[in-house]
Symmetry: C2
Subunit: 452 residues, 2 copies
C-alpha cells in the first residue's frame, strides 16, 4: 500500500478526521482526532505561556483594504484568498477576506497598543482556523483549504537585536515541541525567492514523510520593519526618538498532527507518543467462565492504581482479539491484559504498541514499571523516527546524482554550500525544490527535496 493510501485509511479507521465533508479541502476532526489535536497543541501552549507569550483571539475577517496594505504580503496571497462579498442579500461596501494568516489584522491593532518602548516587547499568539483557496491537490491535514488549526505567534520589539533573539527563542520552542512529539527535523533557512511574503528571512522546520517527501511543519519569520512601517507601528525610544517596531512571527499547523500520524504509524495503525495519546493505557479483562468477577475487580483495581494516566477499561462484549486490533489501530501505547492466571501469580501482562512486545511484570512493581516502559516507548519511537529520517538524507555535490536520488528514494539531498549553485535555477536541474541553507553535522549545505 502506498503512503498516501495508508494515511487516508488511518485517518478513517482510527477516527481522526473525516474527509467526506462536501467541500474539497475541508473536513471534520472526529472525537479521537480532536483529542490528539488537543493534547498536541496543549504542549505548544505550555511552551509559549512559559516563555511569556499571551494567548489572544483576533477576528477571522480582514477588510480588503487592510489585507492589501503591505504590497509583498498581498501579492503572496491574493490568488488564494476567500472573499466574503455579501451579508444576507446585501453586497458589502468593502470585501472581507477569510484570514489566510493574521499579520494584517494583528498589526492594525498593534499600532493602537504601542506608544513607547515600555509597551514592548509584545508577544502574543492565537490558535485559529485559516483559509487558503488551494489550487493544488488538497490532502487531509496536510494541504487543506480550511486549515483547522493554525498556531500563529506575533511579536514586536524595540530593537533589531531583540527581534533576532526572539527568532532564536521561537526556534528553541519549536525544537522542544517537535522533540516532545519525537518528530525529527532539519532547521533550514529558506532561500530569498521562497521566504514569507513580507519577511526579511524565513527559517523553516522540515521533516520527511515515509514516502520520502519533505514537508514544512513550522516556520519562523523575522519581519524586520516591513510591516511596522506599512502599519505605522511607531514608538518612542528611551532617548525620545521615534522608531518602528521590529517584528517576528512564527506558525505551526495541523501538519503537526499529520506528522505524528505519518512518522510514527506502522502497518497496524497509529503509534502515538504517550504524551498525546487520548488513551495511554488500555486494560483488557480476559473473561473466563466462573472468573468474570475476579478479573473485572482486578481491572478496576489496576485502573485505579494507574489513574494518573489516561486509562480505559475495554469491557465490551466482544473477543479480546478484536479489542487488540481496535486499540492497535488507535495507537494506544500500552495494553494491559488481565486474566485469572496472572492474578493468581501476582503478575501483569503488558503489550507495547511500538514493538508489539509482550512483557510480564510483578504486580507490586506496576507503577514503577509502567512509568519506565512509557518513557522507553517514547525514546524508542524517537530513535526509530530519527533513524529513518537520517536514512533519507544524502550528501552529494553531483547534481545529476542528486536528481536521481530525488527521483528514486527521495528524502533530502544536501549539497555542500556554494553561492554559485545556490540559485533558483537548480530547481529545474534537479526537478525538485530548494528548501534552503542548513547546517548538518557542523557543515553548511543547500537542502533539496521533493516536497508536499
Amino acid at each position: 500500500m502506498d503512503f498516501s493510501e495508508w494515511f487516508s485509511n488511518i485517518l478513517e479507521m482510527a477516527g481522526i478526521y473525516d474527509v467526506r465533508y462536501p467541500i474539497k479541502g475541508c473536513g471534520v476532526y472526529l472525537p479521537y482526532g480532536f483529542k490528539i489535536r488537543k493534547y498536541t497543541f496543549e504542549i505548544l501552549r505550555e511552551l509559549l505561556d512559559k516563555t511569556g507569550h499571551e494567548e489572544t483571539l483576533f477576528p477571522l475577517l480582514i477588510p480588503e483594504t487592510l489585507l492589501a496594505k503591505e504590497g509583498e504580503h498581498i501579492k503572496g496571497f491574493e490568488d488564494e484568498v476567500y472573499w466574503v462579498t455579501h451579508g444576507g442579500k446585501t453586497p458589502l461596501d468593502v470585501k472581507l477576506a477569510l484570514r489566510p494568516t493574521s499579520e494584517t489584522a494583528i498589526y492594525y491593532m498593534l499600532k493602537l497598543w504601542v506608544k513607547v518602548h515600555t509597551d514592548l516587547p509584545i508577544k502574543i499568539y492565537q490558535i485559529v482556523n485559516t483559509f487558503r483557496y488551494e489550487t493544488k491537490h488538497t490532502r487531509p491535514l496536510i494541504r487543506l483549504r480550511e486549515i483547522m488549526t493554525f498556531k500563529e505567534a506575533h511579536t514586536a520589539h524595540a530593537t533589531k537585536e531583540e527581534a533576532e533573539e526572539q527568532v532564536r527563542e521561537a526556534i528553541e520552542i519549536y525544537k522542544k515541541f517537535f522533540d516532545t512529539l519525537a518528530i525529527p527535523y532539519l532547521i533550514i533557512k529558506r532561500p530569498e525567492w521562497d521566504k514569507f511574503p513580507g519577511a526579511d528571512y524565513t527559517i523553516a522546520f522540515d521533516t520527511i514523510f515515509p514516502d520520502g517527501r519533505a514537508i514544512q511543519i513550522g516556520t519562523v519569520h523575522n519581519l524586520g520593519q516591513h510591516f511596522s512601517k506599512t502599519f505605522e507601528i511607531e514608538f518612542e525610544t528611551p532617548t525620545g526618538d521615534k522608531d518602528y517596531v521590529y517584528q517576528t512571527c512564527y506558525g505551526i499547523s495541523d501538519r503537526a498532527i499529520a506528522s505524528i500520524i505519518a512518522i510514527h504509524g506502522d502497518e497496524r495503525g497509529l503509534v502515538l507518543p504517550p504524551i498525546v495519546a487520548p488513551i495511554q493505557i488500555v486494560i483488557i479483562p480476559l473473561i473466563f467462565k466462573g472468573k468474570k468477577e475476579m478479573v473485572e475487580e482486578k481491572a478496576k483495581e489496576i485502573a485505579e492504581r494507574l489513574k494518573s494516566y489516561r486509562v480505559h477499561i475495554d469491557d465490551r462484549d466482544i473477543r479480546p482479539g478484536k479489542k487488540y486490533y481496535d486499540w492497535e489501530i488507535k495507537g494506544v501505547p500500552l495494553r494491559i491484559e488481565i486474566g485469572p492466571k496472572d492474578i493468581e501469580n501476582k503478575k501483569i501482562t503488558l503489550v507495547r504498541r511500538d514493538t508489539l512486545e509482550k512483557i510480564q511484570i510483578d504486580e507490586d512493581k506496576l507503577e514503577e514499571e509502567i512509568s519506565k516502559i512509557l518513557k522507553d516507548i517514547y525514546e524508542n519511537i524517537k530513535r526509530r523516527a530519527k533513524e529513518r529520517f537520517e536514512s533519507f538524507i544524502t550528501i552529494t555535490n553531483n547534481l545529476d546524482e542528486a536528481k536521481n536520488i530525488l527521483e528514486d528514494k527521495k528524502g533530502i539531498v544536501l549539497i555542500p554550500f556554494s553561492e554559485d549553485i545556490y540559485k533558483e535555477d537548480i530547481e529545474d536541474k534537479v526537478e525538485a525544490k530548494v528548501l534552503g541553507e542548513t547546517e548538518y553535522k557542523g557543515d553548511k549545505y543547500i537542502a533539496i527535496a521533493k516536497t508536499y
Copy 2:
C-alpha cells in the same frame, strides 16, 4: 454612568476585549479577557465531557445547497448569512456560507455516521466562531457579527423519549454552569413564534443585566425529526424497522463572558468569581526602607504556600495605591498586602474584592482561611446577584402596569399564565418581548421583558 457606557469602559480598562477592530461587530479578545474566556469554557467543557459528550471540530464553510436544505432553518437565517463568493479571483460554483450555526454541516455528516440503533446516541459538541450579519445595533460580547465563542452541542437519539431526556440533561448542565458562575436565570420555554428555526420547541436561559434588560444566555432545542427527515438521518431500529433519529441541540456563547462582567461588576471594575479569575490572589509587597528584602522574601514564601491557586506577586515599582486600583479593575478576588509590621506580628492582611473588606488573619492559618474566604466570596456574589435578579422580577396580571414597569425599572414581568393572553399581539400592548412560559415559585407565568 449608564450601564452600556460602564460595560464598554470595563472591557477596555480591564483588558478584556478591544472593539477598535475595523469591522463593526468584530473585536479582539485581549490576554486577560482570553483567560477569563478559557477558564469559563473549561467549566462547560468538563460538564459536557463528564456527561458523555465528545468534542469535535467541523468546517466553518457551509455550501449554500446544504444550508438551504431545511426550509424553516434557512428562512430564519437567510438575511444574516455572510457569503463567500470568490476564491482568489475565481468565482465559486456554489456560494459558501460562514456558519451562522452548524446544524446543516453536522447533520450532513451524521447521515454518514448513523446506520443502526447501536450507533446511537451520538452526543458531540464544538466550540467555534459563528457569524451573523446583524442589522441591529452591535454590542461587544453581546451582539457580535463574529461570535467568537459558540459552544454548540448536537445529539441524535433512537427515540423521542431519549431526546426529551437529553433536553433535561442539557438543562441540568446549563444550570450547573451558570450556578458555578453565580449567574441567576429563569428557564423559559420560548413561544411558538420565537423558537429556533427548525425546532419542535426551544427552552432558554434568560438573565437580567443591571440596566433591567433581559438577555438570553443559553438555549436548548428539541429538534424532533425536522432535520433528520430533511437530511435523511435514518437508522435501523432493534426490530429491523427504519426510523429517523430524534435530535437536540444546545448552545452557549460569549454572552456567558458578558454576563460575568455585567452581573458581578461594580463601580470599581470587574468582580470575578474565583473559579474564572485569571489571577485569584494578588500579593502586594509594601516596601519600607531597610525592610525591602524581608518583605519580598515573605511575599515569595506566601506565594509558594498558595501555589494551588493562581497567584501573582505585583512587584512593579509604583505606589501600592495604584496597584490596588489596577487589580480592583481586573476583579482579582483577593488581595494580600505584605508589610513589615504584619510580618513581625505573624499576621496577614487580606482585602476582599467583593466587599472591599479588610481582614487580618494569623499567618499560620493562611491556607485554611484563604480557602474559606474564597468560598465565601463566591457565595456572596452569588447571593448578591440573586437578590438583584429577584428585585427585577414583578408579578402582575395588569397589562398596563406591566407596560409601565417595563418602561421604568424594566426587569422581567411575570403574568399569571392564560392561553388567552399568551399571543404574539401582547408584545405590541406592552411594548416588550414575550420571553415565553416559565415556572416561578411553583406557578406558571408568561414572562415579558425588554431584551438585548
